[in-house]
């Protein structure tokens, strides 16, 4: 009797083990969707809708496989450049031309004659409106990585992430001087650019503004490279620039206000000419999480044109009535 009890006990325990194995294997239980260590960005991605002063007026689908740069030309024609080509749209978003080229455009600007200056990694190629190369500049450096270009009068300014410097050139490509280059003797600290987002633009008076992203600041330089003013603060709050290096892109409105875009917390905002936060153009919820490279342009009516590389769209925002 005792033996039978022992055997029964042993068998029951053995069967429990087998049943546990089978249940675990075939129960089809779903893995826990929760993550006890989740990085919760929901709160910081939330914004007060009252701060959003713009509305999306128009969305334009881009057919290029990769898009990196947007610019506005005469007649508010919108130019989008990317991998192996460029597309042009009229102000209503209708296709108005395109041409292709070899290589990937990283930045773009137009001069008063509507010549298109396109930055390719370490050099610039100037195209006419039909896509015919007018001029090809020589390479700045094998380490160069041009990320932004702007034209102010007879000067072309270029931001080089690879060398962390701004070039002031003539429209024919002749280099005049370097701006912001680190120079301990002159106590120039140099730009702090941790990731390849290094934007610049010229203001309404032709002054040069550069995004010193590592310092989360917008800096104004004279043509000789003198730092004239700066503003900006690092913060995940709506009035600051988040993450390691922002603003990733910016543009300047006709009244001298700044439109900025950020990565990390994807958002487009407007600051006053003195750097005071004014409003939101597009909150994080308007973008796919993880979107980077929100290049900006502004047309003559101060419509804000946002390049959304994740959605492959041009998104045009206008101020709410």
């Amino acid at each position: 009797m005792k033996q039978k009890i022992f055997i029964a006990a042993g068998l029951v325990l053995l069967m429990i083990v087998i049943v546990i194995m089978l249940l675990d294997l075939f129960s089809g239980h779903k893995a826990d969707p929760s993550n006890p260590y989740d990085y919760k960005m929901d709160e910081i991605r939330k914004t007060d809708s009252n701060l959003t002063a713009y509305t999306e007026q128009l969305t334009i689908r881009i057919s290029l496989s990769e898009i990196n740069a947007v610019a506005c030309g005469a007649g508010d024609r919108i130019y989008v450049a990317g991998k192996n080509g460029l597309e042009i749209f009229n102000q209503d978003g209708k296709p108005d031309g395109n041409f292709s080229f070899e290589g990937t455009a990283s930045c773009m600007a137009l001069d008063k004659k509507d010549n298109i200056y396109i930055g390719f990694q370490d050099h610039v190629v100037v195209f006419d409106q039909l896509g015919k190369p007018v001029m090809k500049w020589k390479s700045f450096s094998s380490e160069s990585l041009l990320t932004s270009i702007t034209i102010s009068g007879s000067y072309v300014f270029l931001a080089d992430f690879g060398k962390k410097v701004v070039y002031r050139c003539m429209t024919d490509g002749r280099l005049i001087n370097r701006i912001g280059e680190k120079d301990p003797e002159k106590n120039v600290p140099g730009f702090i650019i941790p990731s390849p987002y290094f934007d610049l633009a010229s203001g309404k008076k032709g002054e040069l503004w550069v995004a010193n992203t590592g310092r989360h600041s917008m800096e104004q330089f004279g043509n000789d490279g003198t730092l004239k003013s700066a503003w900006g603060q690092a913060s995940m709050a709506v009035d600051g620039f988040c993450g390691c290096c922002n603003p990733s892109h910016f543009a300047i409105l006709s009244d001298g206000s700044f439109v900025t875009s950020e990565k990390g917390i994807e958002r487009v905002k407007v600051y006053s000419p003195k750097g005071i936060f004014l409003c939101i153009v597009a909150p994080p919820s308007a973008f796919i999480e993880g979107t980077r490279g929100l290049d900006l342009a502004v047309d003559s009516k101060d419509r804000i044109i946002v390049l959304d590389p994740e959605k492959k769209q041009l998104r045009i925002f206008v101020k709410k009535e």
Binding site: M41, E43, L145, Y197, C245
Partner: protein, 637 residues
């Protein structure tokens, strides 16, 4: 002059030996799949550099687990699924990519306004990430490995806001290199992969990362080959030197062969102790050594039982790298068993040695119960091979009851599982070995034809019956009560019945197995994903909807779905993958069912066929050669 039975035994032994030789040869010299790299990544990273002419097993030598940061979605499962506590996965800092930011997304909690080192501002739940001021505006961040639990929180923060220099990597000084990594099994994005032990890191550097994240830079650099550093080191004015990122190297490759040498030496020694010395005490000491070395020191890996799965997968998946040491671990005990019986089970297998320590009140189960329970290992072996061959899972490792104890870090569930098994072992000696061990099935069959098996008595049995109850494993066959062998016509009749019954059982079980292919395939992660994607895209049809069941809202999407969306795969690809798996399971279901049918048939045959015996003899199939019975025998050599 050998009799007919001996002649047939010799013939079978020769056949098995030849089969094992051919099998090993096929494994060692199996052809490489030229279309897919054994290592799972591009040849430019391999020291062989497309010169893969060596047999895969010889070439690969040793593989270790690693995370591909490009696929990792920081789901947190590395922290919660590793058999080690804390996890062997650690955050690793690729300093070459770091921006040395003041506002580090990996260090500070979202929304932090004050950028200081106060604990309440830190994102890391264990404060494992350290911040040190270098010079304005640069801060250095280092990971305290002792504190890091591999949750990936900082990795996500760094990736979202910064350059992604914080990355999860398996640290091989902590990783046990499990046969089937517990994290890999649960990784929703299949970011876990095996890499050569001499190149154990998949840390993203600027070279690898060029195609990964930042659109502009990735695009720009695609033409730059490896020449341009995407994240140039900040120009420090102080004397700061950027640290080199170190990932601990895995255990030396030669140690895998040391294990093989120790296995071989142990088998030789135990065989000698069993057959020549006939010393139970020394066999017991040897089992303690095996428990200490293969169990607690080597922590249950590598083991011959688990090697079944590696071998099965290698046979069906030519891209799977099977190290030579694993082949030897699989084959060597089988060869020893073929010649000397299950001396491996006697004192070399740590599982057996461990269970032996708990057999306090072993009870005889009787032949009928032994036969019925004896079918379970066949089912286990069949399922283990089925799931391994289809690349679904390594269930032997998944349900390894002792590995957690060997490693002193079993989860509560696993500890309970082991505890129940060991408790049953108090009354049913070696329950795992007898009624679960899939390797035992192979040893059982091969041992039947062993050339020199342990005998209870070294000379003639004197029928003293002292050994009758000595075996805790019911492995002593008693003399039969009938006075003479069974009559020939009765045997012929039984034989004729079996020749009909066994093929019928094989077909019937095969059909059942194939019918169950969807159930069996439901274990596979690819099929699970397809089901989830289907439910998500089409919604649950009303006729399938159970009471109270609703579709998961987007906020509760599983990590598998998130990983699927991040992977860029289409739904069609997911369904196609699942369809291929289902087809494999349909074919395998037939084989699995047929195998179980055959086992049943042979079990019936074993019960039907009467073996005439006049002495107490060891049952060659079931005997573990533990020598307990020998101690009871008064006849000494």
């Amino acid at each position: 002059m050998p009799n007919r039975r001996e002649f047939l035994n010799t013939l079978m032994r020769g056949g098995i030996l030849a089969a094992l030789g051919l099998f090993s040869g096929a494994l060692v010299f199996r052809s490489r799949d030229k279309n897919s790299c054994s290592y799972g990544f591009d040849c430019s990273r391999c020291s062989k550099n497309e010169n893969c002419n060596l047999p895969a097993a010889l070439e690969a030598r040793q593989m270790v687990w690693q995370i591909d940061p490009a696929k990792c979605i920081q789901c947190g499962r590395c922290a919660t699924n590793c058999v080690m506590s804390p996890s062997a996965v650690k955050c690793t800092h690729a300093f070459a990519m770091c921006g040395y930011c003041d506002l580090c997304g990996g260090y500070f909690k979202p929304g932090t306004k004050t950028l200081d080192t106060a604990a309440e501002h830190q994102l890391c739940p264990t404060n494992a990430l350290k911040r040190k001021f270098i010079e304005d505006p640069f801060f250095e961040y280092t990971v305290d490995e002792e504190l890091c639990i591999g949750c990936g929180k900082c990795v996500k923060g760094c990736g979202a806001f910064g350059n992604g220099s914080l990355q999860l990597q398996v640290h091989h000084d902590r990783c046990k290199n499990c046969n089937q990594c517990s994290i890999a099994r649960n990784c929703p994005s299949q970011a876990f992969t095996r890499v050569p032990a001499n190149k154990p890191s998949l840390l993203k550097t600027f070279e690898v990362a060029k195609a990964a994240t930042l659109t502009v830079a990735a695009t720009l650099l695609s033409t730059l080959a490896m020449a341009v550093q995407r994240f140039p080191k900040p120009e420090f004015e102080s004397a700061y030197t950027q640290p080199q990122t170190q990932i601990p190297l895995p255990r030396g490759e030669f140690l895998a062969y040391l294990d093989v040498v120790i296995l071989f030496a142990s088998l030789c020694l135990v065989t000698w102790l069993v057959l020549k010395k006939r010393s139970r005490l020394w066999v017991f000491f040897m089992s303690l050594f095996s428990l200490a070395y293969f169990g607690f020191y080597r922590e249950g890996c590598v083991c011959s039982i688990g090697a079944i799965q590696n071998v099965s997968l290698a046979l069906f998946d030519h891209s799977f790298v099977l190290p030579l040491s694993v082949i030897i671990f699989f084959i060597l005990p089988l060869i020893f068993t073929l010649f000397f019986g299950r001396t491996f089970c006697a004192a070399v297998c740590p599982f057996g040695a461990f269970q032996d320590l708990f057999a306090f009140k072993p009870q005889a189960l009787g032949s009928r119960l032994n036969t019925i329970l004896g079918i379970i290992p066949y089912l286990y072996l069949g399922l283990a091979v089925l799931f391994a061959a289809t690349g679904t899972d390594f269930i032997i490792c998944r349900y390894d009851p002792f590995v957690g104890i060997f490693r002193f870090n079993a989860s509560f569930g696993m500890f309970l599982f082991s505890g129940i098994l060991l408790l049953s072992g108090v009354f049913i000696a070696r329950p795992y070995c007898r009624f679960l061990c899939p390797y035992g099935v192979l040893l059982n069959w091969i041992s039947r034809f062993s050339r020199r098996h342990i005998s209870i008595t070294p000379k003639e049995c004197i029928q003293c019956r002292l050994c009758e109850h000595s075996c805790p494993y019911d492995a002593i066959d008693m003399p039969v009560t009938t006075k003479s062998p069974e009559a020939r016509p009765a045997m012929v009749k039984k034989m004729m019945i079996l020749t009909v019954v066994i093929p019928f059982l094989v077909l019937a079980f095969g059909f059942t197995g194939s019918s169950l292919h969807e159930t069996l395939a439901s274990v596979d992660s690819r099929v699970k994903l397809a089901k989830e994607v289907l439910a998500l895209s089409a919604g649950i049809r009303p006729d399938e909807k159970k009471a109270g069941e609703t579709l998961q809202p987007a906020a509760e999407e599983s990590f598998e779905i998130k990983a699927f969306k991040a992977s860029g795969k289409t739904e069609a690809q997911v369904y196609s993958d699942a369809s291929i798996v289902l087809k494999k399971f349909y074919v395998s279901g037939w084989l699995f069912g047929g195998f179980i049918g055959l086992a049943f048939g042979l079990m019936i045959a074993g019960r039907m066929v009467q073996v005439y015996r006049t002495d107490y003899v060891t049952n060659k199939a079931r005997c573990f050669s533990c020598l307990r019975c020998v101690d009871y025998c008064p006849v000494k050599s």
